[in-house]
Amino acid sequence: MTGPRSSRRAELAVAALLGLAAVCAAGFVAVYALDSIGHQTQLLGLTLGAAFACLAAAFIAGRRLVAGEDAEDEYGGPAPEAADEIGALVEESATGIERRRLLAGAGAAAGAAIGAALLAPVVSLGPVFDLASMARTPWRRGRRLVDETGAPVAASAVRADEFLTAYPEGANPEEIGSPIILIRLDPATLRLPASRRSWAPQGILAYSKICTHAGCAIALYRAPLFQPVEQPPGLVCPCHYSTFDPATGGTVVFGPAGRALPQLPLRIDRAGNLRAGGTFSGPVGPSWWGVRRGRATS
């Protein structure tokens, strides 16, 4: 099948492919050495990829030069004699031991205690038994709302059909309880629970920006352009599309979230800036076992 002539041709092909691989690899080094040329990433990938492709082709073409025939072999089977011998070896080694139960019990106790001792330091990883910190937020009555740059947020800055993100003044904006979403609705359309009537001055509403389903930031505000035919305003999480109704106190209207979005009471100070009127209506962020569902669920 592989006569001397076709074999010689295959040898030449392999040599040519290996040479081409060398050229491509040298090209990679050249492209790497040339600083700030256009499309450097693309050229690097192209030269290195081509070098490997040539190598692959060389090996595939070279198979004909060395390839042997099919061969046969027997599947081995289990070796019960050897397994039994292992068992016998272990059994015989213990023939001199008489108080087996005592030793086994003591061994188990030592193993369990040492295992527990080695596992105990894991508790240092985090406040494993302090779940109260999970419900804490920096919001307090009277705390001013600030934007990303730290400037106070004026009530007049919150316009209809837009949302603003605000943080508590002087607190860490990276805490899960910090970011809130601010929107303005027509006060006549609000259907907040009776206890929250004063929470939305001028129809300005503040909710935790963290979705109660999986903790992503509520980054979408569905603001109907023509109320009579479109869906009502909704605060939407882009991760799993939980949708909350801002007019009714953040109740879930669609999606997998199981709790209402916690609302933050607002008031407007004498300078016209927004301040917190208290703390959130419920725990911020994703739920965990034992968490209160919050006052807005009714």
Binding site: Q40, G49, A53, Y75, P179, C216, P256, V291, R293
Partner: protein, 463 residues
Amino acid sequence: MVGRAPRKGDVVIRGAARTVDERTHAAPFGLKALRYLFPEHWTFLLGEVALYTFIVLIATGTYLALFFHPSTAQVVYHGSYAPLDGMRMTEAYRSTVHLSLDVRAGLLMRQTHHWAADVFVAAIAIHLMRIVFTGAFRKPRELTYYVGLTILTLALLEGYLGYSLVDDLLSGMGLAIGYAVALSIPFVGANIGQLIWGGPFPGTPDFWSRMYIAHVFLLPLLIATLIALHLTLVASLHHTQFGGGRRTERRLVGLPAFPSQVPRSLGLMFAVFAALFLLGGLVEINPIWLWGPYHVGDGTNGAQPDWYLGWLIGALRLMPAFDVTVLDYTVIPNPFWGGVLFPGIVFGTLFAWPSIERRVSGDRARHNLLDRPRDVRWRTATATAFLSWLFLIFLAGSADRAYVLFGWSYETQLQVYRVLVFVLPPTVFWLTLKVCDELRRNEEVVRNRHEAETEARAAAHRT
């Protein structure tokens, strides 16, 4: 060959082999390894693709680790990428943008690493399908199968940690979801979340050190060890093979490792390297400088994870609002269903499958010959139904993209998916049974015709 006068090069090789053997006594083992037989069918190369991809992952990942800073220290960006200038971000994100845009060959390595991760999981998944559809997991190879499944589980976790470490906007959203899923575990979730993150989300700076050591040391070491164990088991029991010809349950036929399989396998290895570096150089993936840094209060629309986590985001999105509650208290929050129970069912079924099948079929014999999928119709049908269920949930995870692309209402799509996940798998099950039967009937027709023709020809010859 023995009788031929050795060439000059041969003498050198023999000398080298003897020198090594005198110091290792490994020649008998080496000879056995060189004579090990590989089946010729192409599907036996799927696992090799995963193996060679893992090599690329280690190589490119090591290069990235030379430039990446696993730190949550807040810095202000003043690098070469103008749109991010003046933005507050973590050192982790800044160093990743820097290694992508300012380090020569950095972006090639990062993109190749990301592509390789996607290909690694894909190669394992397709390899797993071949194993399931042909019954290769049966006795005596159950352990090999369990080890392989464990590698797949760890690969998913490893990939998730990899793109979480970057701390771009998508990383942060993914970690937020991971935290919520951890929290959703009944009775211990909150404590587990506090342990892993070191406190409430987004956690303490220690959390980044933990992710880093897991991503660059613990998980790769574990995966590498399990790969070694997997291959040892494969070699110890020998490869399976498809029946036919001289191949029987007792006799295996294949290409010896040397000289036949080595060039074949090396050719495949370099082809995998070529494909991955071409992808890494030419096809953009995860351009993190466009996403921007993550902050707890930031999110973006149309966020999609890497493909191998698409089934999980699909499950989280598909699940209707349903928490187990007692009075005003939550017991099981919603992310548990899609984030814990669903993958638990999927991997639980996969791990239990050899035992389930043994119980259902009563087959406890040893098998070296593979099944053809059509011949074991109920297994094939179960597998295709299971796959269709997974694929549907995977698709549901991209309903928001379908909304943007085609304008289909997101809510309506989800309602349709919620029905389909119950309707489609039984339909696929039934269809697969029909297809298997049809294929077998066709074979019988062809065989009968062939026999009849041979007979007729023989009869014509006689007359």
